[in-house]
Symmetry: D2
Subunit: 335 residues, 4 copies
Amino acid sequence: MSIRIAVLGAGIMGTDHARIIARDLPGAVLQLVCDASPDRARGVANAFGAVDAITDPLAAIARPDVDAVLIASPDETHAPLALAAIAAGKPALCEKPLAPSTADCLKVIESETKNGRRFLQLGFMRRFDPSYGEMKSALTGRLIGKAVMMHNIHRNVEAPANFTGQMAITNSAPHEFDAARFVLDTDYTAISVFQPENIETTRIGAPVFMVLETASGPLVNIEINNNATYGYDVRSELVGETGAVQLAAPTPARFDLALQSFQRYPADWRPRFAEAYRLQNRAWLDAIRTAMPSPIAATAWDGYCAARIAEAGVLSLAEKRRVTLPRLETPSFYR
Amino acid sequence: MSIRIAVLGAGIMGTDHARIIARDLPGAVLQLVCDASPDRARGVANAFGAVDAITDPLAAIARPDVDAVLIASPDETHAPLALAAIAAGKPALCEKPLAPSTADCLKVIESETKNGRRFLQLGFMRRFDPSYGEMKSALTGRLIGKAVMMHNIHRNVEAPANFTGQMAITNSAPHEFDAARFVLDTDYTAISVFQPENIETTRIGAPVFMVLETASGPLVNIEINNNATYGYDVRSELVGETGAVQLAAPTPARFDLALQSFQRYPADWRPRFAEAYRLQNRAWLDAIRTAMPSPIAATAWDGYCAARIAEAGVLSLAEKRRVTLPRLETPSFYR
Amino acid sequence: MSIRIAVLGAGIMGTDHARIIARDLPGAVLQLVCDASPDRARGVANAFGAVDAITDPLAAIARPDVDAVLIASPDETHAPLALAAIAAGKPALCEKPLAPSTADCLKVIESETKNGRRFLQLGFMRRFDPSYGEMKSALTGRLIGKAVMMHNIHRNVEAPANFTGQMAITNSAPHEFDAARFVLDTDYTAISVFQPENIETTRIGAPVFMVLETASGPLVNIEINNNATYGYDVRSELVGETGAVQLAAPTPARFDLALQSFQRYPADWRPRFAEAYRLQNRAWLDAIRTAMPSPIAATAWDGYCAARIAEAGVLSLAEKRRVTLPRLETPSFYR
Amino acid sequence: MSIRIAVLGAGIMGTDHARIIARDLPGAVLQLVCDASPDRARGVANAFGAVDAITDPLAAIARPDVDAVLIASPDETHAPLALAAIAAGKPALCEKPLAPSTADCLKVIESETKNGRRFLQLGFMRRFDPSYGEMKSALTGRLIGKAVMMHNIHRNVEAPANFTGQMAITNSAPHEFDAARFVLDTDYTAISVFQPENIETTRIGAPVFMVLETASGPLVNIEINNNATYGYDVRSELVGETGAVQLAAPTPARFDLALQSFQRYPADWRPRFAEAYRLQNRAWLDAIRTAMPSPIAATAWDGYCAARIAEAGVLSLAEKRRVTLPRLETPSFYR
C-alpha cells in the first residue's frame, strides 16, 4: 500500500522534497502540493506528477486522501502545522526549525506526548549523511577512543542582505548544533559566542564563532560563515583520544588547468546533502510503514534542544559572555 | 502505470538489481525473481517483496504480468535471453557482456534491428557514474581542449583462482573499453597487450596492460589488475590539449590514526558504483515509459564493440603483437 | 669570512642546530658545542665536526673565536644567556621561549634596546615555513580579502607524563600564538581558554582550546592537543572575506595498502619543519653578515608578546573566564 | 678543506647549480663560472660570489685552483668535457644526458674505466628526490610485494616550437627512463612507442606514450607530454603485488576561492625538484671528500643505459613497432 503524501510549501525545499518523493521513494505517492501561491503549488505539482495542488495547508492535512505530510512551509508555520498533523493523527516530516522559539517547541512536544505516538520527524537530514555516519561509527566503534573535541564549519557563498550574527545562530547553526549533539550523544551545558570585529557587517555579513561545552565533556566549536564567498562548504572533525575523523564531501572529479589542481565546491547545500535527504525521506517512509520511528531521525525533542542552545547563543552574542544551560533530562517518551 | 519487472538471475548482480528496483525506483514493481535455484529465487523475492519466484527464464519473459526483464543470469545466457525478450517485444536491461563472442552479439543486433525497436539496454553502468559524466563534460564543454590520452586503471582485491590474462581482457576490461569509447566518442583501431613477466600467475593472477589506438586519434591505455590486493580501485584520467580531468571516487570520511591519514577503499565495486547503477536503472525505466532510449545508455551495438576489441586483445596477448581492427561504421539504427 | 658559531645546549634542538650549521649553512662554522654534560657536548661536537666542546655557556659566549651564539639550552637559561650575548655584543639566535615570564622578557628587551642593536633573533621558525609564507602572501596579496578568522591546530603524539593544560599554554602554544600574530600582523586583546572535561588528565594529558581576539579584528582559535596519539600534526586555516588558505604539510608519497589509501604523519616536529629551521638559520646568518635583521624573523619583542598572551591564557584557564589585555604599542626599536 | 668547484655553463641549470653551491653546500666554494658568453659567466659569478668568471671550459678544468667541475653546458659538450675532467683527474657532476649517442657514452665509460676511478656522477637528480626514495623503500622494504607495473607521467607547460616526438624521447624521457630503472633495479628489454594521431603537432607538440619491458619482469609505461599547458607535473606510481605507492609533489598550501579548492602547480621543474638537486649536489660533495661514490647516484653507465633505451625508442617511434634490446651485463666497474 502506497503512502500518499502532501508537501506543504513549494519553495526550494518543498520542491526538492516533491522531487524526492516522486522520483526516489517507491511506495510513496506525491498526492498534493500546497502553497500560498496557487501558481507555485500547481507548477511543482505538474513538474512531479502530483495528483492535486491546493493553497490551504490545514485543508491539505485534513484531506482523507492524504496519509502523511511534509512540512516545508515558512519557519513560523512549522509548529502550527505540526500541531495540526498531530491532531489529525498523521505522520509529519517537518523541515527545521521545529519552531523559532523554545516555548513553541515545547507546545509541540506536549501535544505529541499527549497523543502518545512519535510520528513527527524533524528534518535534520545530516543524521543520514554517510559521512556523519562514519564519524559516529568511529566513536561508537571505539576506533578513535573517547571524544575530546569536535570542530565544525559551515560556510555559504552569500547570505541574504542584512543577515545578522543572530540569524547565523538561529537559522544556520541549528544543523551544526544538532549534528554535533547527534554524533556525540550528549547535551550542551554552555555556549560562548565570538565575532570578528573588523568586518563591516554590510559587506561580509556576520560570521560567528561558538564554543560549546557538553554534559559528557567534549568541547564543540562552530564557525558559521554565511558570506564565505568561495563555496558551500561544511566541514567537521571529531578528535578522539587516539585518532580523529573528518567528513569528506562528495566530489566527482579533479581537474588540472591553468597551474591549478582543483576540485569544485557546490554553490549551495543541495548537491552536498542530496544523499542525506534521500535517505532521510526513505527512513521517514519506512517509519510510517512500520509504525517504528527511525532510531537516528531527529524528534521534536531534538528540535527543542537545537532551539534552546540557539537561544542561549543569541544571549551570549548580545551580552558577550559565556551562557550556561541547566542540565536536561530527555523525556522517556523521546528516548 | 507501474512497470512490472522480472529479474533473471539471483546472484550478486541480480540481487542488487532486485534491491534497486524494489527500493529506489518509483514506478517499477519487482514482479518476479527467476533463478535456476528455486531457493535463491525465493530468497531474493522474499527479501525485496517480489510477487513471485520461478526458475524458468523463458517462462518469466513470456508471462503476461511481466512488462520488462532485467537479465543478470550467467554470461552465456545473456544473448539467448535477450533474443527471447526481443521476440516477446519486452524491453530488457542486460548485464554485460551482451555475449562472450562477437558472432553472438551480431545475432542480437540483427534481431533487434529487424524488430525495429531499440529497447535493449546494456549494463555498462559507468556511463551513468557522475564522475565519468564530469569527464565527458570536460571534453564536450571544451574545458580541456581536444583529447590526447586517456589512462584507465581497474584493480580488484582478488581474482578467482586460475584467473588468466585472457579473462582479464574478456571479463574485466569491457567496462574500461566501453567507458573510454563512451567518453571519447570514438572507435578502437588497434590494440597492443602487454603482461609483466616476473609474476607467478598462480599467486598474482594475470595483470595486463593495454594500449589502444582510436579512430579519432587519442591513445587509451588500460591496466587490468584483478589481484591488486589493496582494494577495489577504478581510476581514469583524460588528458586534453590544455588540461586534464580525473575521476574522484566517493569516500565519506578521512581518518587519522597510527601515524597515518587515510581514506578507505571498498572491497568490491558496489559502493563505488552504487549511484551509477541507480541512475542507470532509472534511465532504463524512463526509457520504457517514454519509449525513448536514453541517449547515453549502452546499446547492443556498444556491447558488440566491447566484444570486438576484447577479441582483438585476446589475439594480441596470444601473439604478442599489435592487432589492428578495420574501421567500423555505426549502423544508423544505433546512432 | 665565515661566522663562527657556538651552540649552547646539546639536547634535541641543539643537536639539530649543530647539524644544520655544519651541513646546510655555507659561511657558518660550528665552532663550539656547549652543554652541562661534557659527554653530550663532546658527542655532538664530534658528530658534526665542531672545533671544540665545553660546559660553561658564559665562557662560550665570551670566547674570542666565537662570533655568534645559538641558544638551545633549557628554557630558564634563555634570558640570562641572551643577556650575556647582548653584553658581549654577539648576535644570538635563541630558541623559544625568550623567557618563561614576561618580566624576564622585558629585561632582555630593555638590555637590547639600551645596546642599540637588534641582533637577538627568536626561534619562532614557523615564520620561515613556506606554507605559512603562502598564507601570509594570500593576505598581503589580497587574494582572500581581509582576514576574518584563523583556525590553528597543534597535535603531538604524546606529552610527557604529568603534562598539564597550563603547560600546553606556556610550552606548546607560543608557536601558535606567534604564527597567527605574524600572519595577521596584529596583537591579541583577549583570550578565552576551554578544556574538555570528560578526559582523565593522567591518560590524555590536557588538551586546551583557546579563542583569541585581536586588535585588528579577526578571531584566532587554537587547539593544543599534546596527546593526540595519531601523529605530529600542525594545521592552520586562514579565512578571509572572499576565500581561505590552509597549510599543506610536506609528504613525499601516498600508499595504497590493506583497503586504505594513506599518507604518513611524522612522529615529531622535525620532519614537518626541517625546511623552516634551515631557512630560519640561513636568514640569521645573513642578518649577521649584513648587520640587517631579517624582516620576518621574530625579535625579543615578539617573544615578549608570546609570553604575555600565554600568561593571560594561564589566568583564563585558572579562572575559567575571558581575560582581556590592554592594547600594546610596539616600541619603535622593534618596528 | 673546502672543495673548489667550477660550474661550466651559466644557463638555467648552471645558474641553479651555482646558487646551490654558493648557498647550500658548506665545504664547497664556487670558484669559477664558465660560459661562452663572458657577460653571462660574469653575471652568475657576481650573483653568487664566485672567485672568477671565464669562457673556456677546458681552461676551467685545467686550472689548479679548481678541484671539481659541474658540467651544465650544452648537451653535445657534456661528453668532451667529461673526458677532459677524467683526463685531468678531477671529479665531475655532469648534467644529463651524458651524451646524445650511445657511442659517445661508451667513450666516456671506456675512459673512466681505464682511469680506474668512478668520480663522474650523472645529474639524474630524481634518485635523490625523497618521494622516489619512498617508492624505492616500499619495494626494498617489501611493503608492497614484488613490482608489477610502474606508471610514469612527465608533463611540461609548453615545449619549444618544433618540438618533436623524437625530442620527447631523447630530451625529456631520460629522467623517466633512469628513475624507473633506478627504482626497479633492472634493465629494459623492449620498448613500444605510441603517439596520438589527431593532434596537430604544430599546436600540441608531440606527446608520446611508451611501454617498456624489463629484464626482471615488471612493465613500465611513460607519458611524455611537453605541451600539457596546465603545469609542470611529474607523477609516478609503482604497483606491487600487495599494494602501491605514488609520488606526492611538494605543495605548501591549499586555497579555497571561486567555487574551487585548489593547489598550485609550478610552471617548471625547479620547485618540484629543488630538494633533489640540493641532496644530489651534497652527495656529490661527500663523494669527493670521502673518495666513495654515492651508492644511489647515477654513473656514466646509467647515462649509457638511458641513451640506449632512448635510441631504441626513437627507432620504435619511426618504425611503429616494438623494439627489443639484448640483455645487458653491468660492468663490474660500475656495480
